[in-house]
Amino acid sequence: MGSITFIEHNGNQHKVDIEEGSSLMQAAMDNSVPGVDADCGGECACGTCHVIVDKNWVSVIGNTTEIETQMLDMTPEKADTSRLSCQITVTEAMDGMVVRLPEFQM
């Protein structure tokens, strides 16, 4: 089974096993990765599951919908490869992927 690595803003790393079909947000929550709030429980409606995907993996994770882009736009720490992790479905193709967490969720 493959894994994905979350890196907190302070540099702490969390390697989590890939569970096909669940969301990246759920993977963080299930493995108690600190720094993801997920206030809306995965509805793409709160913006507090923000992650910054390593640019080498952007092509693997799929496209953003308009609604996701709009929610991300309201995140002060938005970066070029920012995503809402609840909108990314985890697959085995993401084995080795690295995602960073912002300093704050908002």
Partner: protein
């Protein structure tokens, strides 16, 4: 609080006017006058001018009357036919009757149409999932022109982005949101804490006093003064403006007169124009700028000239003042009340203060300081078996969704260690999700951290008194007694 569109006076009903006059008034619409004259006439005078204009107009043309709400006991909900249930009644919260009303709607008619309320017909959406649906779908439901049940009254069209749709909303929000972003809050936390400590250290012990006045109102006024770097000795003005701007009968069934609102708004404009000019002079003199709202707006290329668009300037300031005032205030009171109604939770808290952040979310759910937000359907929408027609008003009752047994475990229980406590509706969802949510959480966290180190008990002595409004769910008075920590 009705986020501003109530700085306005209910005025002549256009239907009784001759057609030609109607045309003339709509051409010379008031906001246009204001934008055009903003460079010449100071903003406070403009507001006074609009007030006089509307007053005169009211005298000349037949005025549509403002609804008058006279309190009478609210009946047991089981005695009513479903179509007669009217949850816009501004006494529903005041008489603390709301729980059974919303439970009946959730169970029997979760998407409910009330066709003759004093505010006109409206839909009520009362289940958690349906509320999230409406709040997310800004493509189907518009926040314009106002987010309270009543119609937008005529008059000063102050622009606040809480009542705008994209793309305008997004641009305006982005311009100001950094002020309350967590990074900036970190800079302000120490000052907010020291000002809170000063209040708590001076509270009477073993003696009854009003928690609303001495703690909740005082702390929120101090916080706002800090956020705006507003002259500290005048901080009560902030709370006062927010209150008068907040509560008109025609929008939320509140108790404030149009005269009070206009005088308050004019005074507020005067103060903030002066504050802006002072900070601008500081900036031009090359002095170091602070982390307060106006300094941040002045240092941003996109917003440094905001004062030249007075309606936008006033709108943004007022939205922050009104948005940040009685919401947090009522959560400060609600938390104490909840811990008194659920004394075991108080014991749990004292045994484990690390529960404070989770409790703060639970307090905000349990209180739901803003009962709802209103939308207007942009097209026909099918929701839970009902067809909402294009143009219909749709009210998302957060206060009901937060008690929806279908989505929340034992929702009427206050549990400070509740799992997924953050998944409440009180801050709304989607693009309008509360911009000040982190600030509100921070203030409540500071309050409870400092309370626990000082007091052994906060005893609520009497039933609290509640605000008259269908929008603000809050308190006017709550007598308590403190015991010191031994």
């Amino acid at each position: 609080m009705n986020f501003l569109s109530s700085i306005v006076e209910k005025s002549a009903s256009l239907t009784s006017m001759p057609a030609i006059v109607e045309k003339a008034t709509s051409l010379v619409s008031i906001p246009v006058i204001v934008e055009k004259t903003s460079k010449v006439i100071p903003l406070p005078l403009q507001i006074k001018g609009i007030h006089l204009f509307l007053k005169a107009k009211n005298k000349v043309w037949k005025s549509k009357s403002v609804p008058v709400f006279i309190e009478s006991p609210i009946p047991d909900v089981s005695t009513l036919a479903i179509e007669d249930i009217d949850v816009s009644n501004p006494f529903l919260f005041k008489q603390n009757m709301w729980e059974s009303y919303f439970k009946r709607l959730r169970d029997e008619c979760p998407v409910h149409y009330q066709k003759n309320s004093p505010f006109g017909p409206f839909w009520s959406v009362t289940r958690y999932k349906d509320i999230v649906f409406v709040d997310r779908r800004h493509d189907l439901f518009s926040a314009e022109p106002i987010i309270v049940i009543g119609d937008r009254p005529e008059g000063m069209a102050i622009e606040t982005f809480i009542a705008m749709d994209p793309p305008k909303h997004d641009i305006q929000r982005k311009a100001v949101q950094n002020v309350v972003a967590p990074k900036n809050l970190l800079e302000m936390e120490d000052l907010i804490r020291s000002r809170a400590v000063d209040v708590l250290d001076n509270l009477p012990i073993d003696e009854p006093f009003d928690w609303v006045e001495k703690v909740s109102v005082e702390l929120t006024a101090r916080m706002l003064a800090t956020l705006f770097d507003f002259p500290y000795e005048h901080r009560h003005k902030l709370a006062y403006w927010s209150d008068v701007i907040a509560a008109s009968p025609e929008t939320t069934g509140g108790e404030c007169s149009a005269d009070e609102m206009f005088i308050g708004a004019a005074e507020m404009a005067e103060y903030f124009t002066r504050l802006w000019r002072e900070k601008e002079a500081k900036k031009e003199a090359g002095e170091e700028m602070g982390y307060d709202l106006i300094s941040l707006l002045l240092s941003n290329e996109k917003t440094k000239n905001m004062i030249n668009k007075p309606m936008e300037f006033m709108g943004n300031l007022a939205l922050l003042i009104v948005g940040g005032n009685d919401t947090t205030r009522n959560s400060m009171t609600g938390g104490v009340l909840a811990l008194n109604e659920f004394p075991n939770e108080f014991i749990k808290l004292k045994n484990d203060p690390s529960l404070i952040p989770n409790m703060v979310s639970e307090i905000i759910r349990w209180q739901t300081p803003l009962a709802y937000m209103r939308r207007v359907a942009k097209e026909d929408v099918e929701l839970n078996g009902k067809t909402i027609k294009k143009g219909d008003k749709v009210v998302m009752w957060y206060v009901s969704g937060n008690r929806d047994e279908r989505s929340i475990d034992q929702p009427d229980q206050f549990m400070i260690d509740r799992k997924k406590a953050r998944n409440h509706l009180s801050f709304g969802f989607g693009i309008h999700r509360c911009m000040g949510n982190r600030l509100a959480e921070m203030q409540l966290r500071i309050l409870w951290e400092e309370l626990l180190t000082r007091f052994d008990n906060i005893e609520v002595l009497d039933e609290p008194e509640y605000v008259q409004s269908n929008f603000v769910k809050g308190y006017t008075k709550m007598m308590v007694k403190l015991s010191a920590k031994t």
